[in-house]
């Protein structure tokens, strides 16, 4: 009993060493640290990254919620070839984020890109997606949605399938239209799953880094540099090396994510009570 307890405990302790080390490593940053924080709050690049991150996260979360709900409703109603549609919409989720970036960089590329070539043929000009900061941000949001929508759609689809069909029958008897059935039955029943999608996509959005690394590299002019890129640049890229700043950025990101998680827990509990 004790032996297996140890056997089970050992990897656990070993596995969560990370978390303990995080606190140990966090301390030096705090001890000589207030200067790091003072430095980071006066760094224009940091605030640029924060603003970009919020723009990115808000755009991504809102559009994901709308599009994933739409996709889930469509998939749920679909009977013909539903397995195919479900799988096909999910395929982009399998692609490594790094490859997603390469792929879309190729599609959006101003010189050899397919999309610009098509738009040019149609006489719509060349938008230079990845050259103008604002367009690059739009492209980044779109690409992240492309890469993750299948996943969120399947979560919502699971939610839709667990709605009691009797509710719809009852509404039918009462003469409710398709739209009011959607508004008064589907949406409220789907709320828990939608909340999950919002939380997961928010966390994903705050962590976005890999696909941007190959899509835009944080450019143009820092227009798509998000907070994780800022941390990475200061921790590991030679010209900017500043471990203290990277750690301070990490701690701040951690606090934001922790706050979001707490908010979601509170929201979840209130939902449970209602």
């Amino acid at each position: 009993m004790v032996a297996v307890g140890l056997f089970a405990l050992w990897p656990m302790v070993n596995g969560f060493r990370e978390s303990f080390y995080k606190e140990i490593a966090g301390q030096p940053a705090q001890f000589d640290g207030l200067s790091n924080y003072r430095q980071i709050v006066t760094d224009a690049a940091f605030w640029g990254a924060v603003r970009n991150t919020f723009e990115f996260v808000i755009g991504f979360v809102v559009l994901t919620l709308i599009l994933a709900t739409l996709a889930a409703v469509l998939l749920n109603a679909q009977k013909f070839a539903k397995g195919f549609f479900r799988a096909a919409i999910y395929v982009p989720v399998l692609i490594a984020p790094i490859v997603v970036g390469i792929l879309w960089n190729w599609v959006l590329n101003p010189t050899s890109g397919v999309l610009d070539a098509i738009l040019h043929k149609l006489g719509l000009g060349q938008p230079l997606w990845l050259v103008q900061p604002h367009l690059a941000m739009i492209a980044a949001v779109f690409v992240e949605i492309w890469a993750t929508l299948g996943f969120y759609s399947l979560i919502l689809l699971g939610g839709l399938q667990s709605i009691d069909p009797n509710l719809y029958d009852a509404a039918q008897v009462d003469g409710a239209s398709a739209w009011s059935q959607f508004v008064y039955i589907t949406l409220p029943s789907l709320r828990p799953m939608m909340l999950l999608v919002v939380i997961l996509s928010m966390i994903t959005g705050f962590q976005a880094f890999e696909f941007l690394y190959t899509l835009t590299g944080g450019g143009p002019l820092g227009g798509t540099t998000l907070i994780v890129q800022y941390i990475y640049d200061h921790a590991f890229v030679p010209p900017n090396l500043n471990f203290g700043l990277a750690l301070a950025g990490s701690v701040l990101l951690f606090l934001v994510l922790m706050a979001l998680t707490l908010v979601s827990f509170v929201a979840g509990r209130r939902r449970g009570a209602a």
Partner: protein
């Protein structure tokens, strides 16, 4: 749902059926429903069209890059819209020969398989301990597990990297395998599943004289096969596609994994694009195949855990 659908949509059917009748006067309608029993309503046609649109957006870029990987550089740059003229494998040959594609592939495979195996062992044992043994501080430990799930690796990159430096694992495959394998998510998943295995089963094994390890190995693990399958699939996907961790730990090309090599090569201007496309396509093949074979498990896994 079926009844609701047909009822709700009866109002739609009128203009539609007149159109079919008009069509029927000359020829059969151009489409038929799969069952052949019921003509599809305009709503279902619209819905299918919308889904087809989504699917096109989802997979056209992938098909396009697969086609692009057969084009030579002049075609790629000069005429982006053209289709490849022949099934030209020179990009694949060039990419595999000029870059150590096979080394990266081997590293990726080794890392994915060992990390997944390690994840299964660590998660199963730790999850079992948390689910079925009473010891002081168990609940406290479990809260720690939960808290660490919420922390993304990006936030603790720097601290974990310092640990890896202290353990002298930088720039080795072990450094790529061990830290990501100890995933709290796996522990959480296994613990939740072990909770659903009745204590009586374990008690019975003990009464019959099985030792602790034997009970775990012969009784508990076989019962947890679905959870182990889900965890293995999730872990393979994570490790195969992982970029940021290898980016930091692997510092010489002979320990690069595929995503890392592709990411670094693609950010260098000097590397010919056609070779990168070919290697990108080659790197996607294993995951897509895994998905095709295990689709059912993967979709169930999402429903079960909310993880990709």
């Amino acid at each position: 749902m079926t009844t609701v659908d047909s009822e709700r949509l009866s109002a739609w059917r009128l203009p539609f059926s007149t159109r079919t009748r008009r069509n029927n006067g000359q020829q059969a309608p151009t489409w038929t429903s799969v069952s052949g029993r019921r003509v599809p309503s305009p709503w279902s046609v619209l819905r299918t069209a919308a889904l087809i649109g989504m699917v096109l957006v989802a997979i056209t870029p992938l098909i396009w890059i697969a086609l692009g990987s057969f084009k030579n550089l002049t075609q790629l740059l000069g005429s982006p819209l053209s289709l490849p003229t022949s099934l030209n494998l020179s990009n694949y040959k060039g990419g595999f020969e000029q870059f150590d594609f096979l080394t990266y592939l081997r590293n990726s495979t080794v890392v994915t398989i060992s990390a997944t195996a390690l994840t299964l062992v660590l998660s199963a044992t730790a999850g079992y301990g948390l689910a079925k043994y009473n010891f002081r501080g168990r609940d406290g430990l479990f809260v720690v597990v939960l808290a660490t799930i919420m922390i993304p690796i990006q936030v603790i990159l720097v601290p974990i990297f310092q640990v890896v430096v202290d353990l002298h694992l930088v720039d080795s495959l072990w450094g790529l395998i061990i830290p990501p394998a100890a995933t709290p998510t796996g522990v959480f998943l296994m613990r939740q599943y072990f909770l659903s295995i009745p204590d009586e089963l374990i008690e019975a094994a003990r009464v019959d004289g099985a030792g602790e390890f034997r009970t775990f190995w012969r009784i508990v693990l076989p019962n947890a096969r679905p959870a182990l399958a889900v965890l293995a699939i999730i872990s393979i996907g994570w490790r195969w596609n992982d970029f940021i961790w290898p980016l930091i730990v692997a510092q010489t090309p002979n320990v690069y994994t595929l995503p890392l090599a592709l990411g670094l090569l693609s950010s260098e201007q000097a590397v010919p694009y056609n070779f990168i496309l070919a290697m990108v396509v080659a790197s996607m093949i294993p995951v897509v195949f895994m998905f095709l074979f295990l689709q059912r498990h993967i979709i169930k896994g999402i429903a079960m855990t909310g993880l990709k």
